[in-house]
Each structure stands twice: as structure tokens, then as C-alpha cells.
């Protein structure tokens, strides 16, 4: 089974609608990271959450970390076609001075104009 499970696996929303993507860990979360991936492009770092209850926003994207539930949610307000892509959550499982990232299964988002 996956260490990080994302839901939903795919999502189609109409432009202007809000949406939420969840990332649940089977292990204790000390920090969680959200990335966005578009076809033919590299992964783009969105934001990092390190403390329980921490919430961060970047433009219309908000992410929150719930340590007790070992879960993070990514919320997009008033979605736009530019939000389309694959959203990946990642957790730091590394040691020895560098970060080894474990990624979730990804959520594919399509935004219909």
C-alpha cells in the first residue's frame, strides 16, 4: 500500500468552482509538501507545511496540515484553466543530510472553461 494516498485520483471541475484535494499518510507526518506537475514541464513546488494546524496560501491555493489525522488538504478557490495539472503531495522520509521524498499517487485536475 502507498505511504501517501491522495484523493480524489482525478477531478473535473467547471471554471470558477472550488475544489479540495486530500493527502493522507500511513506514517507520522512531520512535514508535507505540495507540488504541481504539468505535461512536459517539471514539478513546481507550491508550498510546505511543517506544523500541525499550519495553513498557507499562495494566490488562490490554500493548504492545511492536520497532524492528528496525518492528513493535508489542498483547496483551490475559484478554479481557473491555469490550475489544471497533476497535484502531488510529498513527505520527507530522508535522513543523513538530504531529503528523500515520498510522493502521493497524484490527483489529476481538469478545469473546464
Amino acid at each position: 500500500s502507498q505511504e501517501l494516498e491522495q484523493s480524489p485520483q482525478s477531478l473535473i471541475v467547471q471554471e470558477g468552482k472550488n475544489l479540495t484535494i486530500n493527502c493522507t499518510s500511513s506514517k507520522t507526518l512531520y512535514g508535507l509538501y505540495w507540488y504541481k506537475q504539468k505535461y512536459g514541464e517539471g514539478l513546481i513546488f507550491l508550498m510546505m507545511l511543517q506544523k500541525g494546524g499550519e495553513e498557507k496560501s499562495h494566490e488562490k491555493i490554500t493548504a492545511k496540515l492536520d497532524e492528528k489525522k496525518q492528513q493535508s488538504s489542498l483547496h483551490i478557490t475559484a478554479s481557473q484553466p491555469s490550475h489544471a495539472g497533476i497535484y502531488l503531495c510529498g513527505a520527507d522520509r530522508g535522513s543523513g543530510g538530504y531529503q528523500k521524498v515520498t510522493f502521493g499517487t497524484g490527483t489529476k485536475l481538469q478545469v473546464i472553461p
Partner: protein, 115 residues
Amino acid sequence: SAVISQKPSRDICQRGTSLTIQCQVDSQVTMMFWYRQQPGQSLTLIATANQGSEATYESGFVIDKFPISRPNLTFSTLTVSNMSPEDSSIYLCSVQGGTGLDTIYFGEGSWLTVV
């Protein structure tokens, strides 16, 4: 930040052949990583490319199948050997510019299809 150039960006390969993917960084970096993302699965670390020594492979990945070179601090290659359709994946090069996951940068990926 680091700018990463990966080649090829896309390729269609015949079963049984090998393909080498190149990763060039515009600055010297200590850590370089290779990831694979198979269809419908999560991005998975293949190995850490160490400059001047053998790569460190994750469980389930072996050097014979994925030989890696790291001749200097700005360049690395990953070879996918004796390819089968199961190797159809996105292969991503990644570098770490400092501490923290917000200093990890990814290449654009190499989208391989094995037929």
C-alpha cells in the same frame, strides 16, 4: 534556484533496447536524484547519483537495469537498459540546492514509451 535541462524530453523505444537520459544543471549541486513515475502510480525515487562514486539505489532498483553516471557536479545520466513496456514512464531528474524540500528542483521529465 537551479535550471535543469533533461534530454530527451520524449521518446518511443523498441522493446529490448536501452536509452540514456541526460540531466544538465546550470550550477554545481551536491545531490542529484532520479525518479520514475509509471502511469497511475506515484513518483518513486530510483537512486541518488553521487559524484565520483557509485549511485545509491532504492529498494527494487538495481544498477544493471538503471546504470547511472555522475562525472561532475553539474551532469548525470540515467540509462534504462533492456527496456520492456513496463518501463514506459516519466523519468525525472532532481537536484537539491540546499536544505529543505523547497530547495529541490525538478527537470521537465523524459516521457518514455516502450513498444
